[in-house]
Symmetry: none
Subunit: 191 residues, 4 copies
DNA sequence: TATGAATGAGGATTCATTCAT
DNA sequence: AATGAATGAATCCTCATTCAT
């Protein structure tokens, strides 16, 4: 009895399981068997919906990026002042949902696999391009034209650095602290 | 008397091979066999000198950190002005030797394994503590007391973010560009 | 629906192969690869059904013990006289099926691994407890109360000794001979 | 500076280490490296004095058997009565030195390797032949001619059974208990 | 006599993937 | 749509052994 419309449900189930598994057991132990068991499904299902493991991982990164993009868009809509628009971008990254340990762990783990999985690169490149574009756009009213690029680079590096740090077991970085750091930096970096 | 004094030579050989292998083939394909073959040695030798693959990876991270530390110290010695001392730290990270693709790739790959290899954490924690201490020390004459911590966080996040980015295939970050970004940021961040 | 109900079949297949392999090639050469090949299956299947090589060995000991227990029970049922009940236990151990070289070799080999595989101990402890209880129960009507324990020890030691000897290449012990030895001993040991 | 006359010393050292290692770490973990380290020597030394690992194991079994034989001979000399001579043999096996856990563990472990190491068989066969001959000789004045063989078998099986049991982690057999069992059995088995 | 460096085969295990049902 | 049986390659590690010194 073929149930119809299971695809989105199952995909979501598997992506959730992937994130959970990477967070709780580490990438190295996040095998297809382990992920599918965690999703309450069979290992074969991964091939069914994602062709292979790389497909699942790519979909997982897509989902994470999409979540973050939507958060940014949502906040952008409510932002009227130039500075608020910039903060919409930065803030989004450190919202509890997206700065949560499982999200950040997964994001970082997938970043580590990028070299080996071209599709992962593709997905990430698209997200990054959009982020950079958003950043530059938000910065334009706030800094002189010739500094837009360099400040965008600085801020984007800081975002990545803080995310990376928070994904590491060696340091404790709270979202609160991250925002404080940005506050201080922005107050100086902008003209 | 046996062939003696091989230990340091062999260890260096294997660490070199590890870095090369991770850079050229990726972490996932950097098996003990592949690394040892690249070193012109047998797979068993890894256990002989490092107990474990984990031992080899830990030693590799140690070496990388030590190289960087020495670079920082070397530059520190020649720095007389407060600002020069801060630049000594930042600059060191982006010297061709330490910002070279193989170094950065390896550093990033090992960062990704940290969760699973406690010894890697230990090594990194020590390095980080020293770096933070150096940064704070260098910042003290340059910013107000209450901003030392926050600026240290910002700069350290930027370093990590730029390194992480440069280890990714999605972006091209030159050492030159990194320094430009720091220049602009520092000019504003300091009092 | 997948190919179903393979579990008991495959497990039996692998246990059979284990016994055969230990008998014909020795424990030292009874690797997972060799055992599974002998079963006409792939090495991975062992993990699938038994988790471990240890799991397979434990299941093998269980099977051997179960076979023997059932033989004893079968013979017990037909035994009406007290002496017959004692013989049921002894005889069972030296029936062609259970005293067969492959069985005894495997039993002995697994006994040698007991120190290293806790689960093997557990299985054996349970079997031994039952055997001792049976022995004592059978001896009660045949010897004075204060000798039950000591005669049980003597007989159980003789069983093990004869099995152990027969598993060794240094001596030839036929089931016939074993029974003769027991006959003589019993005729004296009982009151 | 080649020291002379080291051979017997070194050999004893290695055999001691073998027994200790098998007892404390188990046969499976008693590698040449581990044994030689325990002896405070290098792994290469084993080949020097025993050709290979099998040679060391064979020498170990020889030593164990020799110790036991000497114990029997010593006790035989002091035994004047026929029954005392029989007890000399049995008792020797359960003297603290020879029934000690490390001795029994090693003896049992080597028994398990016999199938795979022909030299081990050879050594054991010789010992067993002598033991059987001693047993028969001691029994001749104590039981009727036609029962000598069968009682020898029974006693020898009991010795092995008790040793085997005591080498197993599943049961606790004290030397005291062993002797009690023999006492009861002998009192009935002899004419 | 003795070392310890070095080897490479062989072990158990894990894993992504395929496929019949 | 979904299963789970089954595969076989790949990984890390351990080990007996060899050898130059």
């Amino acid at each position: 009895m073929p149930k119809v419309g299971m695809a989105p449900l199952r995909k979501a189930q598997l992506i959730d399981a992937t994130i959970l598994c990477i967070h709780e057991e580490g990438v190295a132990r996040s095998s297809v068997q382990r992920i599918s068991k965690r999703a309450g499904l069979s290992p074969g299902i991964v091939a069914h919906y994602f062709d292979d493991k790389d497909g699942l991982l790519t979909a997982t990164l897509s989902r994470l990026n999409k979540n973050l993009s939507e958060e940014i868009i949502r906040r952008m809509k409510r932002a009227n002042e130039p500075l608020d628009r910039l903060w919409a971008i930065l803030d989004a990254h450190f919202q509890p949902v997206h700065f949560a340990p499982d999200t950040v762990d997964t994001w970082f783990a997938l970043w580590g696999k990028m070299r080996e999985i071209p599709n992962l690169q593709r997905v990430q490149r698209i997200y990054e391009a959009r982020l950079r574009s958003n950043l530059r756009h938000a910065l334009r009213p706030l800094v002189s034209a010739e500094r837009v690029e360099v400040v965008a680079d600085a801020l984007s590096a800081m975002i990545d650095g803080l995310w990376a740090k928070s994904a590491q077991p060696t340091t404790e970085i709270s979202a609160e602290r991250a925002k404080t750091v940005f506050s201080d930096t922005l107050s100086r970096l902008l003209d």
